[in-house]
């Protein structure tokens, strides 16, 4: 188990370094850099050369990458070329927003999705199962940002209410913060609850067809005991794996939802960084996203051992 974890971590770190390199080279070989954006088309050539020298863009790409990597390994992601702030500070600020949305969404999606999925699995083949499955497939098919748009319309039509567009951290004004975060969370939660329920239902159906369930029925155990003590316990592992997957999905999904609701989160940071060719910000934020994915997967692997003693080292 330990060897497996180390091997996975190594290959994940290798992939992270390689993906940084790919993004690094790609950004610097495509026409149009930050200098061109700052000076415009008819920019002064000597000013452009001076600015490129200032940002280090006149040096060979491999030298730039080695410098950046050396900096990162020392824990320094550099400064934003536009705002002059530390990239690490920008990332933490943005992550606080994204994390709030993602965490609340995950809790909500789990609370709705898992019971729905378990229920549908238990009553497999009935009308209730069909209704839940329809909800799942519709939820999975609806574009997240479209759900967000329709929620905006609905809230305005029914309650005459629309969310404020300036972000407020929960520590400053909780009521305002909730007002801003509620619609993004709801739109993401619909999709993820559907995904969760869809997955849990299929697991539950497969589990209830296993031999030990038949044996438990023959032994005269009550349905509740069979469903919750036996079947549910046995699908905990795929459930936890899926939770990790969903968390990463939510982090990705926030890119679109943040843009729709003007939330200053990680997705917006990446998007505006790319559009402004603010290389250190893009590079740092992407590395951060990759790191989160690695950590989530690592924690999921560790949880396996907690849930199932047979998998402990």
């Amino acid at each position: 188990m330990l060897r497996f974890l180390v091997a996975r971590l190594t290959s994940a770190l290798l992939a992270a370094a390689l993906s940084s390199l790919v993004v690094f080279v790609l950004m610097r070989t495509v026409p149009g850099d930050i200098v061109a954006q700052m000076l415009g088309q008819a920019g002064d050539a000597s000013a452009a050369a001076a600015l490129r020298g200032f940002f280090g863009l006149d040096r060979p790409i491999h030298a730039q990458f080695v410098d950046w990597l050396a900096q990162v390994l020392q824990g320094d992601l550099g400064r934003s070329w536009y705002q002059g702030k530390r990239v690490s500070a920008l990332i933490w600020e943005a992550f606080a927003v994204t994390f709030e949305v993602a965490a609340v969404t995950l809790v909500l999606a789990t609370l709705i999705g898992v019971p729905l999925g378990v229920l549908a699995g238990i009553v497999e083949g009935t009308r209730l199962d069909a209704a839940i499955q329809t909800f799942n497939l519709v939820g999975l098919s609806a574009p997240v940002f479209w759900v967000g748009l329709m929620l905006l319309v609905g809230a305005s039509a029914v309650f005459g209410w629309s969310p404020p567009f300036a972000f407020m951290p929960p520590s400053v004004d909780l009521a305002d913060n909730i007002a801003i975060v509620i619609l993004p969370v709801l739109s993401l939660a619909v999709l993820q609850a559907a995904a969760y329920s869809h997955f849990v239902r299929d697991c539950m159906v497969a589990e209830l067809r296993r031999d030990y369930v038949r044996a438990a029925i023959a032994k005269g155990l009550s349905p509740a005991q069979i469903h919750f003590k036996h079947a549910l316990r046995n699908i905990l592992i795929p459930l936890v794996t899926f939770m990790g997957l969903i968390l990463i999905q939510i982090l990705g999904g926030t890119v679109v939802i943040e843009s729709l609701f003007s939330l200053p989160g990680l997705g917006r940071l990446i998007l505006s960084g790319i559009q402004g060719r603010d290389y250190p910000v893009v590079q740092g934020a992407l590395l951060f996203v990759v790191a989160i994915a690695i950590v989530v997967n690592f924690v999921v692997d560790l949880l396996y051992g907690l849930i199932d003693p047979r998998l402990r080292p």
Binding site: A15, A142, V153, G252, V256, S259
Partner: protein, 276 residues
Amino acid sequence: MTARALREALSQANGMQRLSLILMVVFAVLIVAPDLVAPQSPLTVDPSRALRPPSAVHWFGTDDVGRDLFARVVHATRITLGLVAGALLLSALVGGTLGLVAGFLGGAVDLAAARAVDVVLTFPPIIAGVVITGILGPGAGNLVLALAIVYMPMFFRIARSGALAESKRTYVEAARALGFGGASILFRQVLPNVLPLVLLQYVILFPLALQIEAALGFLGLGVAPPTPDWGAILEQGKNFILVAWWISLWPGLFLLASAFAVMVFGRFLQARLGAG
């Protein structure tokens, strides 16, 4: 499939599967003959009729420059679904071939290909899509390229594991003993056995790729503006959401319906292939 088998499958289909079939037929008609369904031009601008709500003349209403939304949404069907279908085809061809070769040959080739795939997989799909289209710039070509790259790992993995399993089967051993070359065994014997897996993967990934395509369009990273595309229309509607909800309603419903239809079809295929 014979007509009788088709009838049998239809009679066993549940409500959701029938709905999915109807939706697929409708979308096929919209793709083949959008002009028949929506005779109005999707591009003609007329400011005098801007932001009109749905009416008998303009079933879906009009957008901010007075274009007929019904025509735009209907004509976008071919563009949006076509882009996704093309991107996934490219993805399946490249990723599937790579996976097939990697799984069959194993060793250093397999290892190198697996590492390359891991790089793409480090990002959630939407973020990889945003990075690629954001850096390369918007446009249909880059959008297709981005979607193809994002889904390549999935095709690679499925083809690789298929080829790996097949290459250990007796018929491959027999073909080797008979003196057939590696390429001949791979493409004439192994490929036909792996192909159904790849095709199933194509259907399963289609609704997911469609979501990403729409999201990129919504972020302004997709097809260039005057061309009708569901994601692009949603991006345009975002700015008028509280005054003209109809701009956003319809393209979203079409996205939902097409993703739903393909998803149900994918589940049906999966169950069929799993059972048979």
